[in-house]
């Protein structure tokens, strides 16, 4: 089997030194690598402070790109208002970056956003892998606290929290892996430990590149069923894509 039509569960749009990616260039790269659809979230200042600008950027990127929107929890009620606006505009989930946005995942400040995501039935992707605030196991604790919400370990604990990923996903049933930065051996370990149902292909563009991210999975010689799940079906179901 060749690649199924691929859904990319994690790209970033905007600018964050030294990276930059606009929707037009992303679509060009998607076409070059057989990507049907991408889930995009803001980066840089638009991730941390100018949330509305970043959210509009991903929400208005066209029909092949869906918005994983963000709001800095420290904005309080304004953060909730922004998420409500985004829900009306078609957002498919919430992205949070504890290190950049300045909170610990278990802090009360983020609870209203998580409650909103639960009510909206949104999956929540956390950046993981940066020590202290973006601890894989802190996200696992949050996932235990909100068992009805699906939580995605964005960037797969890259770099040096990779070793926590297989056990966390095994132990917490509403925790998912996004593969953009995870080494193939780590992805293989999750697949072996827990199966393919909670693994999402992500490219990490523009930090990573499609060709490299796809090859990482191809090198694992996955069977067709696993490929379909990881490259497409899991994301289609989780983000409720048509």
């Amino acid at each position: 089997m060749q690649h199924p039509q691929v859904i990319d569960a994690h790209v970033t749009l905007g600018q964050e030194h030294p990276l930059a990616l606009e929707a037009g260039e992303l679509l060009h790269r998607m076409d070059a690598h057989g990507i049907e659809h991408a889930i995009a979230r803001p980066m840089g200042a638009e991730l941390v402070v100018d949330n509305r600008v970043g959210n509009d950027r991903v929400l208005q990127a066209g029909p092949r790109i869906s918005g994983l929107v963000t709001a800095n929890p420290w904005y309080g009620s304004r953060a909730l208002d922004e998420l409500k606006r985004c829900r009306q505009a078609g957002a498919v989930g919430l992205f949070l970056h504890p290190s950049r946005q300045g909170f610990m995942p278990i802090e009360p400040v983020v609870a209203p956003l998580l409650e909103f995501a639960a009510e909206a039935d949104w999956p929540v992707m956390f950046h993981t892998g940066t020590y202290v605030h973006s601890d894989v196991l802190a996200v696992a604790e949050i996932a235990r606290a909100y068992p009805q919400t699906q939580f995605i370990l964005g960037c797969g604990g890259f770099a040096d929290m990779w070793f926590e990923i297989p056990g966390a996903i095994r132990d917490v049933p509403n925790l998912w892996l996004e593969t953009s930065h995870t080494l193939g051996d780590g992805i293989r370990c999750v697949l072996k430990t827990t199966g393919s149902k909670r693994v999402l292909f992500g490219s990490g563009e523009p930090s990573n590149r499609y060709a490299a991210a796809i090859n990482t999975l191809e090198n694992l010689a996955l069977d067709d069923e696993t490929k379909r799940a990881v490259f497409r079906d899991n994301a289609r179901g989780l983000f409720r894509l048509a």
Partner: protein, 260 residues
């Protein structure tokens, strides 16, 4: 294109997990057309460096044209570490030094006087010193860069170019510190143009961490270079020329004969 892998591990096991055997290791180098690899211990980071240095040398002696051993010592042992490094580097087979402060449980500043002696020893032997970097609390990229400043005549290599969260810092530090280099074993392809432009093309070498896992990690990190927006002459510098220069292969080519 000629390739030297500047960052690999060749050992029996990591804890209870077997690592690629010597034969598998060499077959993988062949598969990816890697001419030679700098090989480091893994279990030796947890103790008994002498034993592991000797094991690494024995492997390299069987394949001196392909395997370039880097010694490791435990700087927490003070003078004994310096003695062990002198012993290893007296053997022309050893061409470099590897530290993994995270696994070896020291911050360079905690063992500063010994680390300075070790770096001076390496500098006298023209042996590059590669450190794991990118991981707090003992191996931040800033900590390794600080150590490079202590001994300007030593060649210090960031083993992972900042890995993930320190990549931007790694580019700037390598630019600012003349004796600091970066091994692109970690940062994803999107960051390579930044590293090249900021640090300078002559200061970046390729590494894969192969041995720590199977061949897939080598494939991934080669992909990283090949899909990055850099041209072929730059790739040649990263994949071979810069490593050959740091290892002084022009003056001291790798032996072709079996040394055992």
């Amino acid at each position: 294109m000629r390739i030297i892998d500047f960052h690999t591990h060749l050992d029996d096991r990591w804890f209870n997990q077997p690592m690629p055997s010597e034969t598998e290791f060499l077959e993988t180098l062949d598969r990816f057309e890697i001419e030679a690899a700098c090989i480091f211990t893994l279990q030796g980071f947890y103790g008994n460096c002498r034993k592991h240095n000797d094991a690494l040398a024995a492997r390299a002696r069987r394949h001196p044209d392909r395997l370039i051993p880097f010694a490791t010592v435990d700087p927490k042992l003070g003078d004994a570490a310096v003695v062990e490094l002198e012993r290893c580097l007296a053997d022309p087979l050893f061409r470099g030094v590897k530290f993994h402060p995270w696994l070896q449980a020291f911050a360079p500043s905690m063992v500063q006087s010994t680390m300075i002696e070790l770096l001076q020893c390496a500098a006298r032997r023209h042996a590059p010193v590669i450190f794991h970097d990118g991981t707090p609390p003992y191996s931040t990229t800033f900590q390794i860069a600080a150590a490079a400043r202590w001994v300007p005549q030593a060649t210090v290599v960031l083993g992972h170019s900042g890995l993930s969260d320190y990549v931007v810092a790694a580019g700037q530090l390598v630019k600012d510190i003349p004796n600091l280099y970066a091994c692109v074993c970690g940062p994803r392809a999107g960051y390579l143009p930044y590293l090249v432009q900021t640090a300078g093309i002559e200061k970046i070498v390729f590494g894969s961490d192969f041995g720590f896992t199977d061949w897939t990690i080598l494939a991934e990190f080669l992909d990283n270079i090949r899909v990055a927006d850099i041209d072929r002459p730059m790739m040649e510098c990263i994949l071979y020329n810069n490593a050959a220069r740091l290892l002084r292969l022009g003056e001291r080519p790798l032996p072709t004969a079996h040394l055992q």
